[in-house]
């Protein structure tokens, strides 16, 4: 490979001020222009915009350049943008290198330091670019099959959507029934549909769909493989003959829809567990669903309720230093999103059907954000629900009441009435317990899925890739990601389904070619690389027949290789290297960084 | 050659017609343009002497401050004026000399 002939084009972005406010972009351009191997150096307001991309395309087409360096934001944002532009110019998309002069420079340094560092990073990227070779993406066969984990509303909707596109689906549910949280709900906020009707409509479709296989009451033991070719081992619960069935599912993509559970208050939280009159929202919904009350007041355990107090944000919106963390140190700092509307929905039902049951709602903020939800709030005011507001650092207190009619007394500093201390006698207290993710740490560690500090599964980027994991071929939908209501969970399901369908529709998948490659001439079959390899199945020693003699040689399974370079680091013969990230490239990058010619 | 001339003629007549059709709009636009030209010239002439803030300029050339700022933002965008030091709560503006015409104009 000739090292001298490469003509690098360097394109430096202003990022509309994000970069140019701190980096003297024109000065960087002047320095870059003089660097060895640089054929052109240009600047632009937004490199990712069409005029920016056109510049690269024109230079490539006119033959001025044959390697591209873009200096702009983090490559995670725009790598594909520029690769596609290069493809449009008819060139190989892998002749491109990126210098991150925003996150790594302008957002953290100012003035001359910023300008110098930007120059150095570009010098090093240019040094690397000179040694870039055209590469071909790795093509792997993909099984036209998706596995959905979790059979709540999100899982069911994802399964139906994908199956209706002609892709086979397996749905795995750990409990004996499908439906998840929907099984616990009654009338849904804000429009009052019956949860059971919604569920039935979905079940009718899914149970009759030939393309969908359902396994309930089972556990996932192992997940192996890679995009297009995953394999899941599941075991079913022991049946009547005490036999657990083991099943292996070969699948092209996986969707996590493992949902959420209701927060359970700790012993004594607002009197929970100490007074039988303190219940959760889930309990209240259950009571309304059973509907055993007759007459004009809500009846709970045979008792007519006269004054019920509903406390919002229990187990949600917790603030460090104010709220008690759980034993594992976890604080639920997030808002559970669904409880405000669900509380008001329950209040309205009670006020409409049981006019003798009075209701006090004690809240921090009423979050009826969604379509049809503000009406619930207005309706509750019309229904004479009394609203009282507390601050996070002055939570209502539950004490024993003095009369037998009202076993409890709720004390609150009401910020709607001059922050006065108020006392409300109550015979029922309902805690708006929020949503917590179901524990899927086992699955997460099997598949290396990221979990956020809030303990929910973490997507790649909330706007750019909201239903994807960094592990290609694994998606997420519904409340395993964050609290959502049913409609939002179904939207997320549709979004995950559309990504999975697009991924599998071609029957094959193209992966980045940044994987290990063995130089067969140099390899002596030491096997040091195989020992160092981090990914099972990515690298092995095989016997090759060369001119009648059997030699041991290392062989890479490209689709499995992580491209981490652990092998390259240990090979005594320097016979194995990473495409696109070769040792020589690193050396040249380091040389460029330490040679002090490029800073001021 | 002849056809080109003919085309030119045709275009000329068509333009004339169009001008006739848009007479009122054109008149309004021209008068706006003339005022703008005068206003901006006044700002630039004043700035030839010294850098100044919006209230200073506006007081001197007798133009409302919001209008002065509107022009200033525009002149800056098209590269004719640059922003300088801050004085109190206001920035000073000065002519971009040598006036590089519209290089690196931003939208």
């Amino acid at each position: 490979m000739s090292e001298k002939n490469q003509n690098v084009g360097v394109y430096i972005c202003y990022c509309g001020g994000n970069i140019s406010d701190h980096v003297d972009v024109e000065e960087v351009r002047n320095r870059v222009e003089k660097m060895p191997g640089v054929a052109v150096a240009r600047t632009e307001m937004f490199m990712c915009s069409d005029p920016g991309q056109e510049m690269i395309i024109e230079d490539l087409k006119s033959g001025k350049i044959d390697r591209v360096v873009v200096a702009s934001c983090a490559p995670s944002l725009h790598e594909t943008t520029f690769r596609d532009a290069i493809k449009r110019a008819g060139s190989n998309p892998f002749i491109y290198e990126h210098a991150n002069i925003r996150e790594q420079v302008s957002w953290v340094h100012h003035g001359d330091t910023a300008t110098d560092k930007a120059s150095v990073l570009i010098a090093s990227a240019t040094a690397k670019a000179k040694l870039l070779k055209p590469l071909e993406p790795i093509r792997v066969e993909a099984k036209k099959h998706t596995t959905i984990i979790g059979g709540g509303v999100a899982g069911i909707k994802t399964a139906l959507d994908i199956a209706q596109k002609g892709i086979e689906v397996t749905l795995i549910e750990k409990s004996p029934v499908l439906g998840g949280q929907l099984n616990n709900l009654d009338r849904l906020a804000p429009f009052g549909e019956k949860a059971s009707d919604i569920l039935q409509e979905l079940l009718d479709q899914i149970l009759n769909h030939k393309g969908i296989t359902i396994h309930t009451d089972c556990k996932i033991e192992d997940v192996t493989g890679y995009v297009g070719n995953f394999s899941l081992d599941i075991v079913t619960k022991p049946d009547n003959n005490n036999i657990n069935k083991k099943i292996t599912i070969d699948t092209g993509a996986i969707v996590m829809a493992t949902g959420s559970v209701s927060y359970i208050p700790f012993d004594g939280e607002y009197g929970f567990g100490r007074h039988k009159e303190v219940i959760t929202l889930k309990d209240l919904i259950h009571i309304l669903k059973e509907n055993k009350s007759s007459g004009t007041a809500l009846e709970v355990n045979g008792k007519r309720i006269k004054n019920m107090v509903m406390i919002h944000c229990v187990g949600s919106r917790q603030i460090p230093g104010i709220h008690h963390p759980k034993e594992n140190g976890q604080l639920n700092e997030y808002c559970s999103r669904t409880c405000c509307a669900a509380m008001l929905n329950a209040s309205n039902q009670i006020r409409a059907n049981f006019p003798e049951t009075g209701i006090y709602e004690m809240y921090r903020d009423i979050r009826t954000y969604g379509r049809g939800q503000e009406e619930l709030y207005n309706q509750a005011s019309k229904n004479k629900v009394v609203f009282m507001r507390y601050d996070a650092d002055a939570q209502p207190e539950i004490t024993l009441g003095s009369s037998s009619d009202y076993p409890l007394l709720v004390k609150i500093k009401d910020s709607l009435t001059f922050n006065e201390q108020m006392e409300v006698p109550a015979d029922l207290v309902v805690l708006a317990t929020g949503i917590e993710p179901d524990d899927v740490s086992d699955l997460a560690s099997m598949m290396k899925l990221p979990i956020g500090t809030d303990k929910f599964l973490l997507e790649v980027h909330p706007k750019l890739r909201p239903v994807e994991f960094p592990i290609t071929g694994v998606f997420l939908a519904g409340t395993c990601q964050a609290p959502m209501d049913v409609g939002e969970a179904c939207n997320a399901a549709g979004a995950a389904a559309v990504k999975a369908s697009a991924l599998l529709s071609k029957g094959y998948i193209e992966l980045d070619p940044f994987v290990a490659q063995v130089d067969m001439d140099k390899c002596q079959g030491h096997g040091a690389c195989v020992e160092a390899c981090l990914k099972e199945g990515a690298l092995e020693l095989t016997e090759v027949n060369i001119e009648g003699k059997i030699h041991k040689k290392a062989r890479v399974t490209a689709a499995m290789c992580l491209g981490c370079g652990a092998c390259a680091a240990v090979c005594p013969e320097k016979a194995i290297d990473i495409n696109g990230w070769a040792l020589k490239q690193y050396e040249d990058m380091v040389d460029a960084i330490v040679s002090d010619g490029f800073a001021a | 050659m002849k056809t080109i001339n003919k085309d030119k003629e045709a275009k000329k007549t068509a333009m004339k017609e169009l001008r006739g059709l848009r007479k009122n709009l054109i008149a309004a636009a021209s008068s706006t343009m003339k005022i703008q030209k005068k206003d901006m010239a006044a700002i630039k002439t004043f700035l030839k002497g010294e850098a100044a803030t919006i209230p200073e300029i506006s007081a001197r050339i007798d133009m409302p401050t919001d209008k002065t700022l509107w022009y200033m933002a525009t002149l800056k965008k098209y590269g004719q004026i640059i922003e300088g030091e801050k004085e109190g709560a206001f920035f000073k503006y000065s002519l971009n000399e040598p006036e590089k015409t519209q290089e690196k104009a931003e939208a």
């Binding site: 001020g17 990712c48 725009h78 594909t80 954000y369 559309v498 | 709009l25």
Partner: protein
């Protein structure tokens, strides 16, 4: 010839905001041929005009441009910008329930094939007009490219303000100026359509309580986005009346929302979060300024939003529980905010250098009489199955996503768009199977 201009696609997407772009990409990636019809001169919708976006505080341009560019270069997607939708309905009767749309291409007075986007025409044009892309706070020319990362990079001529001086034509290196361009009508037929026409803010000029837009230094939230954007009208935050760097900035929440008498009765859903975001960005660029948010409830419900809100409080942004009753002109360019404290302690007034109105959101498009799709009492397009599939409308094969189906932030818009693309794809594979 004009009226027989028929173009055929699998899906017609109406509206090229982030919802439309995401829908088009999710369909195009599955091999469907998509037309995106946008009324503005550029795609990108509100999002490309924002500064940074909550909750991650990414720069809006940086995450919108790649989507815009991906759509523009997608082999299965065709863009029609600066177009007017005249009608949208089922095509024919009975069996073949396709979609048919009549569209007018508005004249730019520039030949899109010849133009290379060099902006020479804009530089030479002598007429300045308020740049609405910058909230009217600075000027552009009678012929101009809307903004630097617009797609497509084509200027539009504003003939209302053009004096036909001929300078642009002379300056144009490619002879692309065409003073005689006419509107062109064409028809799009498709199997499905997705409505992604987004939202508009309520106009300040309609609110007498806020001074009908006549009080200096009272601006709406989209104008504030421009002030905060990296290439905004002033390249920094100044108050529009005199260029002063503001020392005290107030946010009026639920401006026109949650109160029918002020505008609309529903909650506009994103204004709490964008006000907090803007306040944070302001306290970054003006560390000494006092920033006050007058609010009734803070609705920070999404993933990471509550934490964002708590961070803002920790940064020293002041949250006052109060309903703003009216705004008056104060002294020295200030605006006087009169508010009712929610703790019952009465009415108070405070002067601020700059007041930002978090105006409520209304639909960006009224289907009447263009399309028979039904609207709800909130005037947004009706979702017939808000639980199982919020993107379904009462018209077969016609779906809705994003703010066209009710106020929504970007995160929720993007997932809903994926969902709409999925429903459209299902609809098309279903009709394929039936045929």
């Amino acid at each position: 010839m004009v009226s027989t201009h028929i173009k055929n696609f699998d899906t017609l997407v109406v509206g090229g905001g982030i919802a439309g772009l995401q829908t088009a990409l999710d369909l195009g990636d599955q091999g469907y041929r998509v037309a995106v019809v946008e009324k503005d001169a550029s795609i990108g919708g509100k999002m490309i005009r924002l500064s940074k976006v909550f909750p991650t505080l990414d720069c809006a341009s940086c995450i919108t441009t790649p989507k815009m560019s991906a759509v523009a270069h997608h082999e299965n997607i065709t863009l029609f910008t600066y177009c007017e939708l005249n009608s949208l309905d089922h095509d024919g009767s009975g069996e073949s329930q396709g979609i048919k749309a009549l569209i007018t291409q508005n004249p730019r007075y520039v030949d899109p094939v010849k133009c290379i986007g060099c902006r020479q025409c804009e530089y030479v044009c002598p007429v300045h007009i308020p740049d609405m892309e910058q909230g009217g706070l600075s000027a552009t020319k009678a012929i101009s490219i809307p903004f630097s990362n617009a797609i497509p990079q084509l200027p539009i001529m504003d003939i209302e303000n053009c004096m036909l001086c001929g300078q642009c034509e002379k300056a144009c290196p490619t002879n692309a100026i065409d003073y005689f361009q006419k509107p062109e009508e064409f028809t799009i037929t498709a199997k499905t359509a997705v409505i992604t026409t987004g939202f508009d803010l309520l106009a300040v000029k309609d609110n007498v309580q806020y001074g009908n837009g006549r009080i200096p230094n009272v601006i709406d939230s989209l104008q504030m986005e421009r002030l905060l954007a990296p290439h905004g009208p002033y390249n920094r935050v100044l108050r529009p009346s005199d260029g002063m760097e503001p020392d005290s900035i107030a946010y009026v929440q639920c401006a026109g929302s949650r109160d029918k008498s002020m505008g609309v009765s529903y909650c506009s859903r994103v204004c709490c979060m964008y006000a907090i975001k803007q306040a944070m960005l302001l306290s970054g660029s003006l560390p000494l300024a006092d920033i006050i948010i007058y609010y009734m409830d803070i609705r920070a419900f999404g993933k990471g939003y509550e934490q964002f809100y708590q961070n803002a409080k920790a940064m020293g942004i002041e949250f006052v529980k109060a309903k703003v009753a009216r705004i008056d002109k104060g002294e020295n360019g200030s605006a006087q905010v009169r508010y009712e404290l929610q703790d019952g302690s009465g009415i108070a007034t405070t002067d601020h250098d700059l007041v930002v109105l978090s105006m409520g959101m209304v639909p960006g498009w009224n289907p009447e009489p263009i399309c028979p799709v039904s609207k709800d009492s909130d005037q947004f397009i009706t979702s017939i199955k808000p639980k199982i599939s919020p993107v379904l409308t009462n018209m077969d094969g016609l779906f809705v996503a994003g703010a066209a189906a009710g106020p929504k932030d970007i995160v929720d818009t993007i997932t809903e768009s994926g969902s709409a693309a999925m429903e459209a794809a299902k609809f098309m594979s279903k009709s394929l199977m039936e045929n």
